[in-house]
Symmetry: C2
Subunit: 190 residues, 2 copies
């Protein structure tokens, strides 16, 4: 029996417990997949101006420090009265400097765990999820949308990591490339 609430088109509405369940698992999943993986998978990017796997994890760490929980607290404290600071899209460049992938993964696990502790401590009730904030590009957003986007942001970067890694074997797979959807993905990764 599926009692999950559905939105107008049959898709799932935001549910805080579901969001936290996903956010809590991402660090362990990335760790299991990436730690000690050969450099052939983790050093390559998708070409000029694109990120390698370490840079993606550094971006996630930057967002743990500056984006999601920071903005959630701005909504709870100031509502629409204080527009979020724009996110520094080059923040990953500072985060990655001098760090191994293993260190970046450790940091991601630590930051995420602390941020989820902070979110749980807020003990949000359903009414608070409808509180509104002010996004520098989108205008009015809700806390619910922000938290849902935090989870889908993890999925966007898992999606990107699988695409970056697949790119390293683009030629090696020969004719199989026709059947391998990840080699035909044009989803942007920001």
């Amino acid at each position: 029996m599926n009692t999950t609430l559905r939105g107008p088109s049959g898709m799932t509405k935001h549910n805080l417990a579901d969001t936290i369940a996903l956010l809590a698992r991402t660090p362990a999943a990335l760790d299991a997949f990436l730690r000690d993986l050969p450099a052939a998978w983790t050093l390559g990017n998708e070409g000029e101006g694109t990120w390698n796997v370490s840079e993606v994890i550094a971006h996630l760490n930057h967002c743990e420090r500056s984006d999601w929980i920071t903005r959630a607290k701005i909504i709870l404290q100031f509502g629409e009265a204080r527009t979020f600071d724009p996110l520094d899209r080059a923040g990953h460049a500072r985060e990655v400097q001098g760090k191994t992938l293993a260190q970046l993964l450790d940091e991601f696990a630590r930051l995420r765990s602390a941020n989820l502790d902070e979110l749980r401590t807020q003990n949000l009730h359903p009414g608070q999820l409808e509180l509104r904030g002010s996004h520098p590009a989108f205008g009015v957003v809700t806390l619910s949308e922000l938290l849902a986007a935090w989870a889908v942001h993890d999925l966007t970067h898992l999606h990107q990591i699988s695409r970056i890694m697949a790119h390293q074997y683009r030629e090696a797979v020969g004719p199989w490339s026709a059947y391998l959807g990840v080699l035909h993905c044009n989803g942007s990764s920001s």
Copy 2:
């Protein structure tokens, strides 16, 4: 220092140790991400005729039984003389029946581990990777291409899983959908 061999366009050539390193990690990564995840993430698909997360894992299990290692052994035993059997694209339907996601994940870990043991036992030398086989759709393929495709097939389905899960929150993220690449992916998933 990156001493990885590069193909003509700068991308990585197939390397058996790299392939095995990736293939060995996928079950634990999927387990860490998916086990006990709320049904809102794992029961939903992307619409009529598409797969949910359990069906993807069932497909991976079907391929562990019938595709990659089976075909590698056909190449090693018969070369081009014996064309591979076509893969049953509905094989996942039998694999998924009556099983929980946790059972499917356990099965994936067990099948993959046994198949990698079998691959390592072959103790393939570089010359053998150039052995040729006959694919029912592509014609001549090499063992190297087959093994590289096995790894990228994992990445294709990790990519697909992240896209399926993101789809469940397509509406919940509100205006953030503009920034979330996984919601704009058109990569096919077969």
